[in-house]
Amino acid sequence: MARRYDTKTTIFSPEGRLYQVEYAMEAIGHAGTCLGILAEDGILLAAERKNTNKLLDDVIFSEKIYRLHDNMACSVAGITSDANVLTGYLRQTAQKYHLIYQECIPCEQLVMQLCDLKQQYTQFGGLRPFGVSILYMGWDPHYGFQLYQSDPSGNYGGWKATCIGNNHQAAISMLKQEYKDTPTLKEALDLAIKVLHKTLDSTKLNSEKVELASLTREGEGPNAKTVIRVIPGEEVDELIKKYQEMVEAKKREEKEKEKEREATKME
């Protein structure tokens, strides 16, 4: 039944759905997970690297996380070639604003402009939508630290914590339970590792499979600067190790409690 209404992007189905947009979101559901968490003193983006093929030449800087401007970075999930086009557009838009106003583009403005572009591909031209969802992290003097998510329909929202890509529902439900208001960046990092453990396909999590980047403000007053930092492999490994040790410690506690219970039963 749906076949008659899904070949063109620019028409609605009888139930009021845009099938091409929904199919685009399906495509993103197969891509590597991207996680974003807003903390009190910063924001972090974590992304799963899917291209861990040994034969791949490892010259590329980052597969999923892109610096957009001094004050913003983003992480993408979906069709990589579409993502490259969109990040190029985002960078240009940010620079055009900077050229005119000599200040960094406010985060929501940049997200809005890209979403307006994405929306055009759902209404005009007969071209397919971009198969990319993007998580943006940024700081501006109007609203401080912000985390946004945009999807192929051109909708966007501001979030405290969110996830896109493979297994994102599991991640989001976990975040709903575990995220407590205004965590510190350290707590957010621990939470991110915890969630990634659940959502990643492989059982062993290591720094080669995960890219982690943080955005913070350093300095005081007029000299304060926004710092976007890709967390180096060794630090990521340490965080993973810390989490795994905590899991092991919990397991040991459980075992001891079991033993105690057995012991009391016997008596």
Partner: protein, 206 residues
């Protein structure tokens, strides 16, 4: 309004030293005879190892430096590295030539170190982008003849950063003293591989 280049008044000079470069400019902004401000910025930082100063009309200098930063930011985001000074020179030249028949009234002076090898580099070009790279010094300004004379007599190869600072300062200060529309102080930046020293000089305040 006989010469639009001399409307605001400026003097910029760059010199090569031993594993360092220095760039200096005066600080006066005027409207022909009237002095408007004595702390006008003529040298712009493009990245932490590359500086460009402009001679000519102040509004064009500001516009061109903004457009250069625009292009440079996109370049550095795409290529994920700092631009080489020579590539930057070509970028400036391209920008100026794109306005071949409606040109910007400026002449840029570029000074920097290669981001990997830290080799010193200086260059200048004319208003429509003809580049000139030298190994010793480049000058631009309403008092360019005076600057050429001063630099030619004072410059020596392989000057240490402190000696280079002295040399470039003396060259600039004495040249602008013989020119009515430039002067009112100077800014000197010495760029070495691990630090940049900025000094402000007080000269004849007239």
């Amino acid at each position: 309004m006989s010469n639009i280049f001399e409307y605001n008044g400026s003097a910029v000079v760059a010199m090569v030293g031993k594993e360092c470069v220095a760039i200096a400019a005066d600080r006066r902004l005027g409207m022909q005879a009237q002095t408007v401000t004595t702390d006008f910025k003529k040298i712009y930082e493009m990245n932490n190892k590359l500086y460009v100063g402009f001679y000519g009309l102040a509004t064009d200098a500001q516009t061109v430096s903004n457009r250069l930063k625009f292009q440079l930011n996109l370049y550095q985001l795409r290529e994920n590295r700092l631009i080489k000074p020579k590539a930057f020179m070509h970028m400036v030249s391209n920008l100026l030539y794109s306005r071949r028949f409606g040109y910007y009234f400026i002449e840029p002076v570029i000074a920097g170190l290669d981001p990997k090898t830290n080799d010193p580099y200086i260059a200048t070009m004319d208003l429509i982008g003809c580049p000139m790279e030298t190994k010793d010094f480049v000058v631009a300004g309403t008092c360019s003849e005076q600057l050429y004379g001063m630099c030619e007599s004072l410059w020596k190869p392989d000057l240490e950063p402190d000696d280079l600072f002295e040399t470039i300062s003396q060259a600039l200060m004495n040249a602008v003293d013989r020119d009515a529309v430039s002067g009112w102080g100077a800014v000197v930046q010495v760029i070495e591989k691990d630090q940049i020293t900025t000094r402000t000089l007080k000269s004849r305040m007239d």
